[in-house]
Amino acid sequence: MDVMSDLWLPIVRSLGIALFPVVAVVFLIWVARKVIARMQDRLGPTNAGTPAGPDAIFQTVADAIKILTKELVIPEGADRTVFIAAPMLVTAVAVAVWAVIPLGPGEFQVVDLEIGAFYVVAMSSLAPFAMIMAGWSSRNKYAEVGAFRAVSQIIGYEIPQTLALLVPVLLTGSLSLQKIIEAQRVPYIVLAPFAALVYFLATMAEVNRLPFELAEADSEIVAGYFTEYSGMMFGSFYLAEFINNLTASVLFSILFLGGWRGPGVDAVPLLGPVWLLVKAFLVFNFLNVFWAAMPRLRIDQVLAFNWKFLVPLALLVLLTTALVDKLIVYLGYTTDGMRAVGLILANLVLGVGLVGYLYALGRRRKRAGVSVPEEFLPLLSSGSHGALRMRSADVVPLSRHNGTSGMRYSRDERGKSSTVELQANHISKGE
C-alpha cells in the first residue's frame, strides 16, 4: 500500500503538471484573441448563434474538435517520417520544460533539479530542431525559408536570453528555480532591470512574437516552416507555440518577478500557484499587447538587433552585475541592503549610458542621411515605423528575401485557423 502511494503520487503529480499547460492554453488562446481583437477595434470571438459559451469562451475547444477531424495531408515528395515526427517533437519539448518549473512551494513541482535553469535552457535549445525538421521535410519553398529564418533568429536570441538568465543565477548562487524564487525577497526586476529587459526582448524573439514573428510570417511565406501541415499536425504547432508563450511568461515571473512569492503564501501554500499564475498572466498579456501593436521586422533588422544590440548589452549587463556586486562586498558592505543599492545604482548608470549611446547613434545616422538606424528599430522606432501606433502601422515592406515588392496588411489572422473568428466578426459587423 505504502509502495503504491509512493509510486502513484509522483505519477499523478507529473500528469497534472504536464497537462496543466495544455489545458491552460485552451483558455489563453481565447484570451489572446480577445485582447488583440479589442486592441484592433474588433470584437474577437463572439457566440453569434453558436453554443460556444459567453463571449465564445469555449471557442478553442470547438476549434480543437474541428481540427481533430480534418485530414492529415502529407504532401508528395515529403520525407514522411521526419514530417510526422516534427509536430510531435515540438509539443513534447514544449511540455518537457515544465518538469522543473515550481508552480508553488515544495510539492507543486515535479522535480527540483540542482541544474533547473540550465535544464530549461537546454530543453528550449531543442525547439529549432522541430522547425528545421518541418521545414526540410516539407519540400516546400516557403517552409524552407521559414526554417532558415527560424534557425538563424531563434538560435541567435538564445545567447542574450541565456546571458540574461545568468544574472538571477549569479545573484542567487543556485541554478535551482525553487532556490531562485526563495532568494527573491526583492524581485530581481528591481535589482537587475536591464537583465530583465534583455531577457524579455530575447524571449519575445524566442517564442516568435511580433515584432519577431518572421519564421511564420503569414503574409510573406504563408505559414513559414509549417506551411504544408494540416489538421491536427498544424494544431500541434499552434498548441506548442502557445505553450511556449505560457512557459516564457511563467519563467519571466519566476526569474524576475518573484515566482510564487506573495502575501499570505507562508500561511496558505495553495496561494503560491495563484500568485505565480497571476504574474504569468500579466506577462502573457504584455506579450499580447506587443503582438497587437507592433509591425513585423525584416530578417536583417531582427538579426542586427540581436547581434549589434542585445548580445553586447547582455554581455555588458552580466559584467557590470558581477563586478559591481563583488566590488561592494570587497569594500566591506556585506549587507543585502547595501548590495541592492549598489546594483540599482549600477543599473542606473548603465541606463544613462545606454540612452546616451542610442541618442548619439541616432544623431550620427541622421547626419548620414539614414532616418532610423536599422538595428535599433525595435527600440527607437518613430515616424512611419511607429512602434505603438496600431492599425496604420501594419504596413511594412516585405522581406528582401522574397525578392518581391509589396505591402502586407493585418497580421492577426493566421490563415488556416481563424476562419471561425472571421465569420463571427463578419456577423457582428453585419448587425
Binding site: L113, E114, I115, F118, F129, A147, I155
Partner: protein, 165 residues
C-alpha cells in the same frame, strides 16, 4: 537484473544503433538527425552516472549548438549533396579496422581491474566546486582562459572563412 542496468542497456542500444545509422544513412540529413538521437542516448547515460550538468551541457552544446550548425551546413550545401546514394570509400577495409579496434579495446577493458561500484558517494554541490575550480589559479584557470582565446579565434576565423567574398 536491477532497473539501472536495464535502463543502461536501453540507452546504450539506442545510442549505438543511432550512431551506426549516422555512418550508414543514405541521406546526409537523416544522418544528422540520427546523430542527435545518439547524443540524446549519451545524455541519458550521463543521467545514469548522476551528472545532470554534463547531460544538460550535452543537450545545450552538442545538440543545440553543434548539431544545429551541422544541419544548417547540410541545408546550405544540399545542392551538391548526393541525396540518394552515399558513395563509400573502401567500406570493407574501414569496417575491419574499426571492428578490430573495438575488439581490442573491449578485451583490454575486460582485462582491467575496474570497480563494479562507485568508490565514493555523490557529493552535493559538486557543480559549484567545478565553477570555483575553473577560475582557481591552482585549478583550471589556464585552460579556462585559453578556451576564451580559442573562442575568440573561432569567432573571427570562422566568420572570415564563411563570409562571401
Amino acid at each position: 537484473m536491477p532497473i539501472g542496468q536495464i535502463a543502461f542497456l536501453g540507452f546504450a542500444v539506442v545510442s549505438v544503433i543511432a550512431a551506426l545509422r549516422v555512418v550508414t544513412s543514405r541521406r546526409v540529413f537523416h544522418a544528422a538527425l540520427w546523430l542527435i538521437v545518439a547524443f540524446f542516448g549519451v545524455a541519458a547515460v550521463y543521467m545514469l552516472l548522476e551528472s545532470p550538468f554534463m547531460a544538460a551541457i550535452q543537450i545545450f552544446l552538442y545538440i543545440g549548438g553543434v548539431a544545429v550548425l551541422t544541419v544548417i551546413a547540410i541545408m546550405v550545401t544540399k545542392g551538391v549533396m548526393r541525396e540518394d546514394r552515399r558513395i563509400l570509400n573502401r567500406p570493407v577495409a574501414a569496417g575491419v579496422v574499426s571492428l578490430a579496434l573495438f575488439v581490442t579495446m573491449t578485451w583490454m577493458i575486460i582485462q582491467l581491474p575496474l570497480p563494479e561500484e562507485p568508490v565514493f558517494p555523490v557529493v552535493e554541490g559538486s557543480l559549484s566546486l567545478l565553477g570555483a575550480a575553473l577560475v582557481d589559479p591552482k585549478g583550471y584557470l589556464l585552460p579556462f582562459e585559453v578556451v576564451s582565446v580559442m573562442l575568440l579565434a573561432v569567432l573571427v576565423v570562422s566568420l572570415y572563412l564563411g563570409k562571401e567574398r
